[in-house]
């Protein structure tokens, strides 16, 4: 029995010592729970991912690596240029790995691709392809000049002052940006197929010939009234 009492005494002594020690470590009277991990206790504990950081604490400082050389695989200025005028896969791949100021070689390719579109329709109408050609467009640009602009100056022109739009028929503003709402397809088709008279565009009447100056699609129910970032959340 004496041995048992002695064991109990030692156990009680250990508990008392522990309580005393803990009490000493929490004598700030601030009511915090004993031994609860905090974000400034100098230890990695709780759900922390480092000493006093991560988990419910401030994120741990991450050393981000931005080193290396990045090489161009795709590039875009105006909409549809490579798609519509590239013609072949080889040309399209080559265009994507070229720089904007180094594209003189693309102009004759673009002009030939554009003329092919007219030839396809000439043949379908049993007309001589020599007689169905691009006509100077509403901007007053002939085929070589138009395709030079597309090939060699392929960037969006963006005006810091005034209206920004690819083309706004209502105001006449043009080539000053690209809005989310701009119908860039119809604008492009008009510039390619429409000829020079905005009031009497070529290829505009499906009753009398091919309809080539509009794809017949508008913006639908897309919301253009949103604040930054100006585009709505995803389609579900």
């Amino acid at each position: 029995m004496k041995t048992i009492y002695k064991s109990i005494f030692i156990a009680l002594l250990a508990v008392t010592t522990t309580l005393t020690f803990v009490q000493c470590s929490d004598d700030d009277d601030n009511g915090n729970a004993i031994n609860e991990p905090t974000c400034n206790d100098g230890m990695m504990n709780g759900d922390e991912e480092g000493v006093d950081c991560g988990g419910t604490c401030e994120p741990c400082a991450v050393v981000l690596d931005f080193s290396g050389t990045y090489v161009q695989e795709d590039i875009m200025g105006r909409p549809g240029i490579n798609t519509v005028f590239g013609g072949t896969n080889m040309v399209k791949n080559s265009f994507n790995t070229s720089i904007v100021s180094g594209r003189m070689n693309f102009q004759p390719i673009f002009e030939a691709t554009m003329e092919n579109y007219f030839d396809v329709y000439a043949m379908s109408l049993d007309l001589d392809p020599e007689l169905v050609n691009y006509e100077t467009n509403i901007l007053g640009l002939d085929a070589p000049t138009f395709t030079t602009v597309l090939a060699e100056f392929d960037a969006l022109q963006v005006a810091p002052d005034g209206e920004t739009t690819y083309f706004n028929p209502a105001t006449g503003a043009a080539l000053t940006g690209r809005n989310l709402a701009d119908d860039v397809i119809d604008i492009s088709l008009i510039l390619i197929f429409g000829g020079g008279d905005l009031e009497n565009l070529n290829f505009s009447d499906p009753e009398t010939g091919p309809l080539l100056i509009t794809d017949g699609v508008g913006a639908g129910d897309r919301d253009f009234s949103l604040a930054f970032p100006y585009m709505s959340t995803v389609n579900q």
């Binding site: 931005f66 379908s124 969006l156 989310l180 119908d183 499906p206 970032p229």
Partner: protein, 234 residues
């Protein structure tokens, strides 16, 4: 067109039909980038709600079907997206705004002069840096820093186009009818990944004379030349 060239064009028609499987503004525009994380879909540049600002939006990896393809689409940590701004009129980038993902955030650098111009780039780590947490499909997380606003995440595709009919038109499949008066918007129910920056024009320098003057288009206002590029780490 000369007959010989014409026959060559007709001979190439079969190739054209095969190659126009999926094409749009710049969506999947060439086989080497098609379906990759560098594939640019569209570029928009316009005046912000604050008229002293310009908004630049690049969309990527489109088109994405709703559901898993959209939910699982991710920006690539090895791909650097650059908005290029030419403010001197020589079509060489004078300023870049760079965006690249690290972890759950998109990091932005600039606008700043690039270390080199052309096909190769380094991240301009000495330029002002900002970051924004990448939004999930149902959320819109934006950040503002240094008078600029930032966003990165999936969005509805704002490009509208009857692309299937376009493919048939350009291949001659629907000659001589051409387009339908009432087309079908292929992108109506599709999504893209978007990176958006709104930047004060004062940070982009003075705009050069409009390039239109070089081809006789007079009266156009001074304008930056802007394009977007996607570059992969070597």
């Amino acid at each position: 067109m000369k007959k010989t060239k014409l026959f060559a064009a007709i001979g190439g028609l079969g190739v054209v039909i095969l190659s126009v499987f999926l094409i749009a503004a710049d969506h999947v525009d060439a086989p080497d980038v098609s379906g990759t994380t560098t594939d640019i879909a569209d570029l928009y540049a316009f005046e912000g709600d604050n008229p002293n600002n310009t908004v630049l939006i690049a969309t990527l990896q489109g088109p994405l079907m709703p559901g898993a393809p959209t939910n699982e689409a991710m920006f690539d940590e090895s791909v650097l997206i650059e908005f290029n701004i030419d403010n001197t009129g020589d079509f060489k980038e004078d300023l870049v705004i760079q965006a690249i993902r690290r972890g759950d955030s998109m990091y932005f650098f600039g606008p700043a002069a690039p270390g080199q111009i052309g096909l190769n780039s380094q991240v301009q780590v000495t330029a002002p840096m900002s970051s924004v947490k990448i939004s999930g499909t149902g959320e819109t997380i934006t950040a503002t820093n240094n008078n600029m606003s930032f966003f990165a995440g999936p969005r509805r595709d704002y490009f509208f186009f009857d692309f299937e009919r376009f493919n048939m038109v350009t291949s001659g499949e629907v000659a001589p009818e051409g387009f339908n008066a009432e087309g079908t918007d292929f992108f109506e129910n599709l999504n893209v990944l978007a990176i958006s920056v709104e930047v004060p024009n004062s940070m982009l320098g003075t705009a050069p004379p409009h390039v239109g003057a070089a081809v006789g288009l007079e009266g156009l206002p001074p304008a930056y030349n802007v394009w977007v590029s996607a570059k992969r780490r070597q």
